[in-house]
């Protein structure tokens, strides 16, 4: 996944990854990444039909685009 992200970023497009595998993602050095703590594969945006939670996570991910750069790091946040 990070390979895809890095390839898009190399073409001059800012990217942000929502990951559920923070260790693996950090090793692959993403331009920007958000890990909603405790979430697992198939649940990247949290709970089904929880529009408020899913929009919150999306806006947090998008906000990383504007935040000070921390290339290669995975930002961990709690959503409980």
């Amino acid at each position: 996944m990070v390979t895809v992200q890095r390839s898009i970023e190399m073409l001059g497009i800012p990217t942000v990854l929502i990951t559920v595998e923070p260790e693996e993602t950090a090793q692959a050095r993403p331009p920007r990444a958000l890990y909603p703590r405790g979430f697992v594969a198939g649940h990247s945006l949290g709970r089904p039909n929880d529009e408020a939670l899913q929009k919150w996570i999306l806006m947090d991910a998008l906000s990383l685009l504007r935040d000070p750069a921390r290339p290669g790091e995975v930002i961990r946040r709690d959503y409980t």
């Binding site: 895809v4 073409l11 990854l17």
Partner: protein, 140 residues
Amino acid sequence: MEKPLELSRYCVPFTPFGKTLEESLICLVTTAAVRAKTDTPFNVEGDNTFRKIDGSLTTADLAYDDAHYDHACVDRDLNCVFPVDRLAALAREGRIAGMTAEHFSMGYSQALRELRETTIPQLARAVSAARPDAVVLTGG
């Protein structure tokens, strides 16, 4: 003639984001094997192709083909891995300008060399051609 240099895995490519979110078109890219219901299914055992997903579609128009991640969430709400309805809501609220005319999905594959040398470069160029201001990626 020497081979072109390759980006070290210790180096992080970084493109600054120079716009505001309110004026940005966002593109979704996932590896969760999402596709339009009318499109060709992914091979769940391994598939090195990717699908374009029309940006006007909602999750009601979409399906997934997967045997590798937990489906408890996506069987009720595909936004769990492909939050296209939520992005559309953010656009209606004016928090982003909108979405690109196409989103993109890859499927499951262990053919890493073909992914690296063929599929991913093709996908990245297709994403670039959609002219997003920023891309949000999700896994399975």
